[in-house]
């Protein structure tokens, strides 16, 4: 067990410093890069907080779409990608598109929360 702050809390402290304190002191043309750095910290903090459940849900989705168990989520994504590219799933595009929304949503929740809301 590690002491507080937790990993996400530490990252958030860095993000707050970057945006709140450092950014105003940096030359104007470099401020965007400071914001990017702060955003990277926020993304990683959300990923740590989310734990393993997004990968578990993706693994279940990919296995279901493939109709077979896959070793891990990366292997599932690779096999699904391979079959799509080979045209083996062309007659299921309309069915697969809304299912893959779930996978993309799980990425957005970490990288850009709210992007999928109208």
């Amino acid at each position: 067990m590690q002491d507080r702050p937790t990993a996400p809390e530490l990252l958030e402290s860095v993000a707050e410093y970057l945006v709140g304190e450092l950014r105003p002191d940096v030359p104007r043309e470099q401020r965007f890069m400071v914001l990017v750095a702060a955003n990277v910290c926020a993304v990683v903090a959300r990923e740590i907080r989310a734990g393993e459940s997004p990968d578990r849900e993706d693994l279940a989705l990919f296995s279901e779409l493939l109709g077979e168990e896959t070793a891990d989520v990366h292997a599932g994504a690779a096999e699904l990608s391979r079959r799509l590219r080979a045209g083996e799933l062309d007659d299921r595009i309309d069915e697969l598109a809304p299912r893959l929304e779930g996978h993309v949503r799980r990425k957005l929740e970490i990288a850009r929360p709210g992007y999928d809301e109208p």
Partner: protein, 318 residues
């Protein structure tokens, strides 16, 4: 660096000293501000040891053609296709005052007049680009494919394969594009990266269209779809044209300026394509960081933005 300044001075035949300052931005080519006595130019060149999609001599020739067609572009001044005095392949252009930074164009009060005029100006520029006679581009651009949509799909599949990361939503998008491709268009000059960020804007509106390195012969509506993808609206999501205007306004001005009639379904197709292309570019930029081609936390962070165009693409095809 001193050698480069010396080379630029020689090309410009400037007697006095010239100084070079890097201009940030520009994904694959370096851009330098060149300052002599009371005068300014811009140098664009390949990073040493790298080759771009459209060789610099071709980009230079395209800018000349676009200029002849009345499209606002920087004045092309000199090109060194094999490196020579610029160290790597590069070209010199006139300096165009204004900004290309999207949030400034969209939100700063001094660009209000520019915002009011930009949609029509973009439409007129597009019509001008698309009116360039493709038969005069022999030797400048590769010949047009029989099916421009298929050729583009293959190009971005190839780029995705070079990255080697599995992106099932992008693969699904590529298959949708293959199975829904429109009737092949007559080949036109396509800018290929016509979007906010590649427009230099001053207080009166569009001053120059820059970054021609993705230009090719293809379906002119490709430029309209790409212009309209959500990523180039920079938060103004209800305004498809560069976060400023509406599609109908753009199309009316485009057709009024001599552009071919625009089929809305074809725009939707190319907007879906644009999202797939942007997803691949994001993944590629992150890959360049990971592979050590160019280490940068900004490029790294783009890898996690692949999901944004994936989402927008799915909304267009579901």
């Amino acid at each position: 660096m001193e050698e480069l300044a010396e080379g630029v001075r020689a090309v410009l035949a400037e007697d006095g000293e010239v100084t070079l300052t890097p201009i940030p931005g520009g994904a694959s080519r370096e851009t330098w501000l060149v300052e002599g006595e009371g005068r300014r130019w811009v140098l664009r060149r390949d990073p040493e040891g790298s080759v771009s999609l459209v060789p610099i001599a071709e980009e230079f020739a395209l800018i000349e053609r676009a200029r002849e067609a009345g499209v606002p572009v920087p004045e092309p001044i000199a090109v060194e296709p094999a490196g020579g005095r610029f160290g790597s392949a590069g070209m010199l252009m006139s300096f165009v005052a204004g900004t290309s930074v999207a949030p400034r164009i969209l939100r700063k009060p001094e660009f209000e007049e520019a915002r009011n005029r930009l949609t029509v100006q973009l439409a007129e520029s597009l019509a001008g680009i698309h009116a360039v006679d493709p038969s005069g581009l022999d030797g400048v651009l590769p010949a047009s494919a029989d099916d421009p949509a298929l050729a583009q799909i293959e190009e971005w599949e190839r780029q995705l394969d070079e990255i080697g990361e599995p992106l099932p939503a992008v693969e699904l998008g590529l298959r949708w594009l293959r199975t829904h491709a429109p009737e092949p268009a007559e080949p036109h000059l396509v800018h290929g990266d016509f979007r906010l960020g590649n427009f230099i804007v001053d207080e009166h509106g569009l001053a120059a269209v820059i970054d021609w390195e993705l230009a090719h012969l293809g379906d002119p509506v490709e430029d309209i779809g790409w212009l309209c993808i959500r990523s180039w609206r920079f938060g103004n999501d209800d305004r498809p044209v560069a976060g400023i205007g509406h599609l109908e306004e753009l199309i009316a001005a485009y057709e009024g300026a001599g552009g071919d009639p625009v089929d809305r379904e074809r725009v939707r197709y190319w907007e879906a394509f644009g999202n797939v292309k942007w997803a691949v570019i994001c993944a590629r930029q992150a890959h360049d960081h990971l592979a050590g081609v160019r280490r940068s936390h900004e490029l790294a962070s783009l890898g996690r933005r692949v999901c944004e165009p994936e989402w927008d693409m799915l909304q267009l095809i579901v």
